[in-house]
């Protein structure tokens, strides 16, 4: 009896032993309901315990399992074997240094995320006794889409500007800044300006749109950045004409 199998060609790299990464092929059984992550787990459990990779929720909400599968950045828990040919090539996320196998160094991404001040910068300090902010559904709807980011870094892997220019703040960080700038509880647009409206900020983006194509949560970071460009251009000219208008 021959059961159907799938060949996974995975990029390996052991910093202690290897000069550079190389592909290693594994044969795993095919299951109709398996995602690529299931196949990788099978390899680790049954074939090669040295294979290293990140994963957690297995349901596309934690953002841990991003990798490049047959050339496209995807979540491996969201990518079904049945949608692919019998030979699948798996690499770590592009544009990040490879630590080991499918694990990349996320430091640059994390520092950029933090740099846009991703928290509500309120008009005045509120204590718990002041009660909660009241926000209408309409006010929430303005920015809700941009809250959906799970920090999976697929957008950074897809973005050619990030590939070509490392200082670029990047899609997720800029979409997150946009989320706060649109939140009516927040008045921090000028506080975020130094990073967002800088040359390596929104102005490095040339609207390729690959980020929005790969985003598993439909955040549309490309759209967020273009909206930020329009807002920033407005700010720039209004500040020039009316320098007194800013706090």
């Amino acid at each position: 009896m021959s059961e159907r199998t799938v060949e996974l060609e995975i990029l390996r790299y052991d910093p202690d032993q290897d000069q550079e990464p190389y592909f290693q092929t594994y044969t795993v059984p095919y299951h109709e309901d398996w995602v690529v992550l299931d196949a990788i787990n099978y390899i680790k459990d049954e074939l090669d315990r040295t294979l290293s990779y990140r994963w957690s929720c297995h349901m596309a909400v934690c953002g841990s399992c991003g990798m490049v599968i047959n050339g496209t950045p995807v979540l491996s828990c969201n990518t079904f074997l049945r949608d692919y040919p019998d030979k699948i090539r798996i690499e770590p996320l592009r544009n990040f240094p490879i630590e080991r196998d499918l694990i990349v160094d996320m430091d640059d991404f994390i520092s950029k995320l933090t740099s846009v001040k991703p928290w509500v910068i309120a008009r005045e300090e509120r204590s718990v006794d002041d009660g909660e902010y009241l926000q209408t559904p309409a006010q929430l709807a303005v920015f809700k889409q941009y809250t959906a980011c799970i920090n999976c870094m697929l957008c950074y892997s897809a973005c050619p500007q990030y590939a070509l220019n490392e200082p670029f703040v990047g899609p997720a960080a800029l979409a997150l800044a946009h989320r706060y700038n649109l939140d009516n509880r927040d008045i921090g647009r000028s506080a975020r300006e130094d990073v967002v409206a800088s040359n390596p900020g929104i102005w490095e983006c040339s609207f390729v749109g690959a980020c929005s194509e790969v985003c598993p949560k439909l955040v549309d970071p490309a759209g967020a950045i273009q909206q930020a460009k329009i807002a920033s251009t407005g700010d720039y000219f209004l500040d020039f004409l009316m320098p007194w208008r800013r706090k």
Binding site: D16, I98, P160, S206, A210, K229
Partner: protein
């Protein structure tokens, strides 16, 4: 285990050849090469017009010749691609919310194409009449 992160090299010139989306992006960007060049050519034509009949007729001979026609046709193809891609991204750059609901992208795109048709027809008619 010690850390020795490996950075994979990226092709700075050929990266756009390896993916359909990247390739179409580059075609969109290169539309500006023809658009810019032809616009400068038209500006040159207006300059020749201001110089006099003889100079302008030399210009129109070049414009209507085989090379000029090929240049114009190529520019037209790129110009239409520019229009198409520009309209496509407009809903993303300027989302419009009406009565609490976001207007669907295709509505905004369709409205742009209708306006495009109206503008084109108007300009054409004005040019032909006067």
């Amino acid at each position: 285990m010690s850390r020795r992160p490996y950075i994979r090299p990226v092709s700075t010139t050929g990266w756009w050849l390896r993916d359909g989306l990247y390739f179409r992006y580059m075609m969109r960007e290169l539309s500006s090469l023809f658009i810019g060049a032809f616009t400068i050519f038209l500006i040159l034509g207006l300059y020749r017009l201001s110089q006099g009949r003889a100079e302008f007729e030399v210009f129109t001979a070049r414009l209507l010749g085989p090379a000029g026609t090929a240049f114009a046709l190529l520019t037209l193809i790129f110009a239409i691609y520019h229009t198409y891609t520009w309209f496509q991204v407009t809903p993303k750059a300027m989302p419009i919310v009406l009565a609490g609901k976001r207007i669907p992208g295709f509505v905004i795109v369709a409205a742009h194409w209708l306006l495009f048709a109206a503008v084109s027809a108007t300009v054409w008619l004005l040019a032909v009449i006067f």
